[in-house]
């Protein structure tokens, strides 16, 4: 079992021997060790620096716990996170999920288990990124539609025509906010049928 593409993994663990275990397993699995941090605080600094593709992190650590670090990582440097802990209470799992953790593995993991966890966390993270992008596009389209509906020349309810200076001003303002090429594409049959370069 070996990864097709070498992902860069940041290990965050305060116990040196456990770090040794994780490192050994990751190397066996073919991952690249981006770095090792001793606690959540150090991890935040290293993420900016080494830009890992996945973070493998303990929960109980001095200075900053894994859950706190996960929240800050997802806020500032969104990255797939796998929690590796000897604790497995429901509360901790729930807290981890709410903090944006992609997978939760109980120590000591088998190599296959660790592999699955890392890949699932990465997959989920990619899905989340895609979802976020789609949501942003949807929100933008919704806003445009809302603005356009205000510019309809006839009221769809009573059929009254919109005229006067206010309507003309609103129309001008909207049209001025859109590039000419885009307006032409919608308003001119000739320009609209022309393909984008």
């Amino acid at each position: 079992m070996e990864v097709s593409r070498k992902r860069k993994v940041l290990i965050v663990e305060d116990d040196h021997l456990v770090s040794e275990m994780i490192r050994g397993m990751l190397e066996e699995l073919g991952y690249e060790i981006a770095g090792e941090a001793e606690d959540g605080h150090e991890a935040l600094g290293m993420i900016r620096e080494v830009q890992p593709e996945v973070v493998l992190m303990d929960i109980k650590m001095p200075k900053m716990s894994g859950i706190e670090a996960a929240i800050l990582i997802q806020k500032h440097f969104p990255t797939p996170i796998v929690i590796l802990s000897a604790y497995e209470t429901e509360d901790l799992v729930k807290e981890a999920a709410e903090a944006g953790v992609g997978a939760y593995v109980v120590k000591p993991p088998g190599p296959a288990e660790l592999f699955r966890a890392i890949e699932i966390a990465c997959g989920r993270f990619e899905d989340m990124v895609e979802l976020s992008s789609l949501r942003r596009k949807y929100e933008k389209a919704l806003k445009t539609l809302e603005n356009l509906s205000k510019l309809l020349p006839v009221c769809p309810g009573c059929g009254e025509e919109k005229r006067g200076e206010d309507y003309s001003r609103m129309l001008s303002m909207y049209l001025s906010s859109i590039p000419v090429e885009e307006i032409s594409r919608y308003l001119c049959f000739r320009c609209g049928s022309r393909k984008d370069p």
Partner: protein, 689 residues
């Protein structure tokens, strides 16, 4: 036929003479008080009349049917003997049975009786008393034959009438006297005072009970003088009421000289008849019964309430019960003492005091029972006892007497509360304003209350103990659950670390390495882990003493040394404790340092001295210096040019796990100085704060 008198003059003279005798006889008869005297006087008087020599009275014997001669006059002794009994069937018996006055006409042949040639002629027979039970008949006789003159017959009939009247009078008088005697006997024999008053309210009669009540021998004087002012003031109004009212009687109750009377005043033709029915005992019994009924109801309520009372409600219930009992039995203070510490200490836990009576509960805490042996002796025997007068306490109850007197107690009642066979408390009742005596009934009832309180107290104590035990068990279960989680966590971490050691050893291994040494070093490192895990699990994952930790780890590590080498370890004593994570890391570091000493120093020497010194420094920092007397570290190690797994572990465990600093140097051998900040909690909180 013989005639006594021939002419009218003689006859008149005869009447006058005999009438005088009759008058005298009648006067005499009127004064006689018994029938015997009347009969005797009658026969005597009859013989005084002219033409009458003898007379007698027969009394009928109901048993034999004979007439018996009871009285006689003018008869000789022989005649009296021969006439003493007149049997049925004789002529005389037939005549005596007659119920009318008879004046037979005797002839010479028709004599009454003959004696020594002397003839006695029967002149008249007069029934005096004729009834079913008694019958008396008088006869008169003369030695002269012939009929009695009519005047004498008339006088005799008058005399007989007088006799009958006298007998009737005497019978009536006897009856009245007997009746008076009976009434008097009845009135005197009654214990209730009785008296009669006339219209002027003067005492006409009073019995002994009344005289005794008013302490007066004077039975005939104005009522106020006989009875005194107090009784007069009570009854005077009632007398007037009866005298003035149409009903003529009145019944009323009142108290006089500690006694209760139910007086009946009845108007009589002469004045008032008053019966003072002494109902003191009945009233006391009634009050006693009422009290007992109320008290029993109270006790039932208290006992029932105690069944369902818990905690603070029980305290309120006991206080309420003391109040109700205290009021009912009219004491000034009611309280509950409970024993503790195997009957050695007494504590006043509940108290009720009447108005204006000083509470004592605050000064009656933690009393030692051995200071009151008399009291305790009785309580130990489960005796309920009372002290009607504190001064009567025996000399060996001096301590108790002083205690009671200091609290103004005059009388005291103590009721022990026993559960099973164990004395657990007692109820006490004080009288401070007067002496008191409690009946056995009340004491028995108070024992019932004591039992109810005892049951409630024991039940409450048991419930408290059960709750305490339950909480303790719950806490232990929680601790065990936490410990179990901790064990699980530590085991998983240890397993992870073992895997980490394996990976690290593999990373540092080279193809030239000895397989046995590889395995031995692995075993040594895992044993180090096992030793510290054992110490931590034994202590329940609490902070460990550093000296103890170092001693165990070093002793465990040097067991692998060859027997031919001399080893000596010196570990400084300190009270420093470190948290489980730090203890874990330090154990692994010390294990590696000892392994290093054994590997390198013992390779060139036969003996080795290992020293471990630990010191507290400022700001919670700890310095641990490990040193041996071996050849020291090679220069490339000191300059970080060469690395091996042991040194790598020492360095990384110090930096990562302890967040401390490591300094390696040679100082008469290899020396490693580790400085770290002590935290007693695993999340890094400073234990020194």
């Amino acid at each position: 036929m013989n005639r006594f008198y021939a002419n009218g003059r003689e006859r008149s003279q005869l009447v006058i003479e005999n009438f005088d005798i009759l008058s005298a006889a009648c006067i005499k008869l009127n004064s006689l008080e018994d029938s015997s005297s009347v009969f005797k006087h009658t026969v005597d008087s009859a013989t005084e009349f002219k033409s009458i020599d003898s007379a007698g009275i027969f009394v009928f014997d109901n048993i034999s049917g004979d007439f018996v001669l009871e009285y006689s006059a003018g008869l000789s002794g022989c005649l009296v003997d021969s006439l003493s009994r007149c049997i049925p069937g004789s002529d005389l018996h037939g005549m005596l049975k007659n119920d009318r006055n008879l004046f037979p006409d005797p002839t010479e042949d028709d004599f009454f009786i003959r004696e020594s040639g002397r003839q006695i002629f029967l002149k008249g027979i007069f029934p005096l008393i004729l009834s079913e039970t008694s019958s008396s008949v008088m006869f008169i006789a003369s030695s002269m034959p012939g009929t009695l003159p009519r005047e004498i017959q008339g006088i005799m009939e008058t005399l007989v009438s007088m006799v009958k009247a006298s007998i009737s009078r005497i019978e009536v008088e006897n009856s009245v006297r007997r009746s008076e005697r009976e009434h008097s006997f009845l009135l005197e024999s009654t214990n209730d005072p009785v008296f009669a008053l006339d219209g002027n309210l003067e005492v006409k009669y009073c019995n002994g009970a009344f005289r005794q009540l008013v302490c007066s021998e004077d039975g005939s004087a104005p009522f106020s003088e006989v009875a005194g002012l107090e009784l007069t003031s009570i009854l005077r109004e009632k007398f007037d009421e009866v005298l003035d009212s149409g009903s003529g009687f009145c019944i009323s109750a009142f108290e006089y000289r500690d006694r209760t009377f139910n007086v009946l005043i009845n108007r009589t033709p002469d004045g008032l008849f008053v019966l003072m029915n002494d109902i003191t005992v009945a009233e006391q019994t009634r009050k006693k019964m009422n009290f007992r009924e109320r008290f029993e109801n109270l006790l039932i309520t208290i006992s029932t309430d105690f069944i369902k009372m818990r905690g603070s409600a029980l305290n309120l219930g006991i206080n309420d019960a003391l109040l109700n009992i205290g009021v009912s039995i009219e004491v000034d203070r009611a309280y509950l003492f409970q024993f503790s510490d195997e009957l050695r200490i007494l504590k006043n836990t509940h108290e009720w005091c009447a108005t204006n009576v000083q509470p004592q509960i605050d000064t009656r805490q933690e009393l030692r029972t051995d200071e009151y042996p008399w009291l305790q002796n009785r309580l130990n025997r489960h005796w309920a006892f009372q002290i009607p007068r504190i001064s009567d306490l025996p000399s060996w109850a001096e301590a108790e007497r002083k205690l009671f007197e200091s609290r103004d107690i005059q009388s005291l009642l103590i009721v022990p509360i026993v559960h099973g066979n164990n004395l657990i408390a007692f109820l006490g009742f004080d009288c401070v304003n007067q002496e008191n005596y409690w009946s056995e009934d009340i004491i028995d009832l108070l024992r019932v209350v004591g039992d109810a309180i005892g049951n409630a107290l024991v039940r409450n104590r048991m419930e408290k103990k059960l709750i305490e035990m339950y909480r303790r068990a719950e806490k232990e279960a929680q601790i065990n659950a936490v410990l179990l989680k901790e064990v699980n966590h530590r085991v998983k971490n240890n397993l992870s670390e073992i895997i980490g050691i394996l990976y690290a050893q593999r990373r540092y291994a080279s193809s030239n390495d000895d397989h046995d040494e590889f395995v031995q070093s692995l075993i040594s490192r895992i044993r180090g882990l096992a030793t510290v895990h054992d110490m931590l699990s034994s202590s329940g994952w609490k902070p460990l003493e550093l000296t103890m930790l170092a001693r165990r780890i070093i002793n465990s590590a040097i067991t692998n040394a060859p027997d031919t080498k001399k080893l000596k370890a010196s570990i400084s004593k300190t009270s420093i404790r470190v948290n489980p994570n730090q203890a874990h890391a330090l154990a692994l570091i010390l294990n590696e340092l000892v392994r290093n000493s054994l590997k390198h120093a013992l390779a060139v020497r036969d003996s080795l001295k290992i020293k471990v010194r630990m010191r507290k420094r400022r700001a919670g920092r700890i310095t641990l210096i490990y040193s041996d007397n071996g050849p020291g570290y090679p220069e490339e190690v000191l300059e970080h040019d060469r690395k091996n797994l042991g040194l790598d572990l020492i360095q990384n465990l110090t930096i990562k796990n302890l967040q401390g600093d490591l300094t390696l140097q040679n100082d008469g051998g290899a020396s490693a100085k580790i400085v770290f900040r002590r935290t007693l909690t695993e999340d890094g909180a400073d234990g020194s704060k």
